[in-house]
Symmetry: C2
Subunit: 215 residues, 2 copies
Amino acid sequence: MMRIITISREFGSGGRELGKRLADLLGYEYYDREIVTAIAENKGMNENYVEKLIEGQALKRVHIHVRSSFSGGIAMGQARTDLLLEQKKVIEAIARTGKNCVIVGRNADVLLKEFAPFKLFVCADMDTKIKRCLERAGEDEKLSRKEMERKIRTIDKGRAQTREIVTNIPWGDSKAYHLTVNTAEWNIKELAPMIAGFANCWFERRENDTVIGSL
Amino acid sequence: MMRIITISREFGSGGRELGKRLADLLGYEYYDREIVTAIAENKGMNENYVEKLIEGQALKRVHIHVRSSFSGGIAMGQARTDLLLEQKKVIEAIARTGKNCVIVGRNADVLLKEFAPFKLFVCADMDTKIKRCLERAGEDEKLSRKEMERKIRTIDKGRAQTREIVTNIPWGDSKAYHLTVNTAEWNIKELAPMIAGFANCWFERRENDTVIGSL
C-alpha cells in the first residue's frame, strides 16, 4: 500500500521545510505549491489568486474581484467551493499515481482518509512563527512584527475555515493527527529524521494491522 | 543538567503506561501515584481522598466531606489549594534530588519550567479511551460504556481546571508541549522507544543551546 504523509501546519511553523526534508529523506514525491499550480492550470486562472481564494485570505480584495466577475456577493462562496472541488480532484489524482508522497496542507489528510496516511500537525508559539517569517520574508515584503502577526492570524483563520468545510474536527485538534510537533525549540533539519522514523514505524505497523486507519 | 520528562495525558490515553515504559527504557526515576502518596503522608490524609480533591473529581461527595471538616462551602477551594501547594512542594523536592526522571501529570511541566523538561502530551479519541479503560477496569468497577465516557470527561475536566490554576495556556494546547502523541493507532510498547529517542535528541540539543527552555 502506498505511503502518504500529510502535513497540516500553522503558518510560519516550518511545516513546509519539514515536509520537504521528509520527502528528501524518504525518497517520496513532494506536493505543496504544485497543487495550486495544477488547479490554476486546469481552471485557466492566476496561481496567486487561486491560492488566496482557497485559503480565504485577503477576503475583501478577493470579494471585489469576484463580485465583478460573478455579479453577486454570494458568488464568493461558489468560486471558493469550485476551487476546493478542483483541489480535491488534483489531490485524488496524486493518490492514484500510487507513488509514496508527502502532501503539505490542503486538508489532504481528510480527503485521502481511505489511503490511511500518516497525519502530522506542525505548530509553534506566535513569537517563534513571527521570527521565522520575518527571517524568510522577501525584499518586497517588509512587514513589522505587528503586521506579520496579523498576517499569520489571517492565514491560519482561513485554514481553519477551509477545514470546517471538509470535516467537523477542528483544525489543529491533536486527536485528528497521529503526531503534533511544536517546532519552537527545534532545528527542522534535526527534527526531520526523527519524524521520518516515526512515520516509517507507523507505516510498518499499518501494514501488519487492519485496525490502522481509524483516525 | 538533569533530564526531566513530563507527561500530561488525557484519562485513558495510555499516558501512564507510556511514562512507565519511558522510565524503564531510559533508566529514569518514575513518579506518578507516588506524588499523591507523599502528599497524603505529609498531610496525614487518605490517599484516594487527596487524589480526588486535587483532580476536582467527585466534587459533590468531596464537598460534603470538606464542609463537615471546615464548616463552610468556601473551604472546598481552600482545601484544594492547600493540597496543590503541597503537591508543588513534593514535585520541587523530586527535582532537587537531581536524578533524571519521568513525572506523570500534576502540571509538573509548568511547576518545573526552570528545569527545562521535555514536555509530552498524550491523547486519543474517546472510543479508544473508553475501550482502554474498560479493558483495564478492576472487578469492582463494572461501568457501562456510557458511564465510562462520563467518568473520562469528568476526570479530564478536573485536570483542565487544575491546569487553569497554574497557567493560562489551556490544558492540551499543543503549543505548551514539545510533542503531542495520539495513541489511538499505536501499541504503547512500540511507541515508547520512539518517544525516548525523541526526548534524548531534544535533551542533547538543549545541552548545546541556551535558547532551549523557552516553552
